[in-house]
Amino acid sequence: MPKVPLWDLPELPGNQLPLHLQLQKTRVSCNKDAPTNTENVTYSGAYAAMGVDNSLRLDEFRKNFKVKVIKLNEEDMEFDLIGIDASIANAFRRILISELPTMAIEKVLVANSSSVVQDEVLAHRLGLVPIKVDPRLFEYMSENDVPNEKNSIVFKLDVKCERKSGERRTVYSHDLEWLPSGSNYMLPTESSSDPSSKPKTYTSFTSSQDSLPEFSNNPITVTPGIIISKLAPGQEIELEAHAVKGIGKTHAKWSPVATAWYRMLPEVVLLQDIEDDDAQKLVNKCPVNVFDIEDMGKGVKRATVARPRACTLCRECIREPGWENKVALRRVKDHFIFTIESTGALPPEVLFTEAVKILEDKCESVITELS
């Protein structure tokens, strides 16, 4: 950016920053050596000396904030959040990863396991299997709670590799079988106790889960096709897995997203006309084909920025001396390309709205705490 004396700056209407400050405030400049203007100017009085108000007004925010959905299916979602500060976008991302509840296998009761996978490794692998069930239908199980139909899901895994088959057997996640009426395993009891009393299992379900309207025609399943173990002829695994509700902060197995991330929108600006040989050079420099060549007529070819979103800011186009004056790479500070990859418990758009709700709840609890 060339230096311009203050008195040469163009007059601007009130409450508008001079262009160079506008650029510093809204864009990260990705220069050859390092990015500059990476910080966000959040203080309300930052530009008070110029008579410019930097405070947040909700009506202003409501007017400027936009959401654009780019891609949406059952698992992934990509959307643009435009006109929001990084601190709030980051709060959504953090909540998505670590504070949204899901169900995951927490207890494994191994009756028999002769496979080479050790019990603790097996239990860990089972824990990471995503369960396709809406966690909002369940309650958290605290330390003193008994497992019941409202806070637990029980799965059975009973696989055997027949000796006569002579082939190894792969145990997949879809071999897990949902037990809607709870555990089948009896709690060890003292022999002297009343023989007429009903023997207790590891769970105390008062009713079968498949009698609930949510699950009657919709059995609980897990993501199929995940290899859990391999069995040699004669080996078998017989166990029960108990899933409970939890959050990703406790253990990543409860995280509802494979990952959730955002990046700022890249902005590629040609500072001068780049024509003919230079245009072809520029197109060839870019590994992700951001630039195109436009025919200007009379045999003049000019480079254009065709796909700025594809830019990874590798800075290859400005690496050679002199090119930094021709091409500017920037990032828009308040435009986030947000991506959510769900693990299957909830669709990604529901995950995001739930994350926003959690941030609202946090604010509300602070307000009540202070009142």
């Binding site: 405070s55 959401v67 602070v366």
Partner: protein
């Protein structure tokens, strides 16, 4: 929990249990955007303790009220984000629903 003085309520430190950067950084943003705030910031005194301290110094108003207003602002932002997002998703499903099926 608020740590401040009775004589001067315009400066206080608020210690929030079971919170982290998620809330504190978002609150720092909304606090900074409030013209009544002269200084604010937050710290996490120890990484193994789930607690965050938010410092608020105002130009005169009680810090507690300013923080409450900032929470309110953040909530309003969230509500607007949620409604805009839901609308965008509904629009996307309407226009692209026939293609994906």
């Amino acid at each position: 929990m608020e740590h401040g003085s009775y004589k001067d309520q315009s400066a206080s430190t608020f210690s929030l249990a079971d919170e982290d950067h998620t809330l504190a950084n978002a609150l720092r943003f909304t606090l900074n955007q409030d013209p009544r705030v002269s200084v604010c910031g937050y710290s996490i005194p120890h990484p193994s303790e789930a607690r965050v301290n938010i410092r608020v110094q105002t130009t005169g108003d009680p810090a507690k009220e300013v923080l409450k207003d900032s929470c309110q602002d953040l909530m309003m932002i969230c509500q607007h984000v949620r409604s805009t997002f839901d609308q965008a998703v509904a629009d996307f499903k309407n226009t692209n629903g026939s293609e994906s099926e």
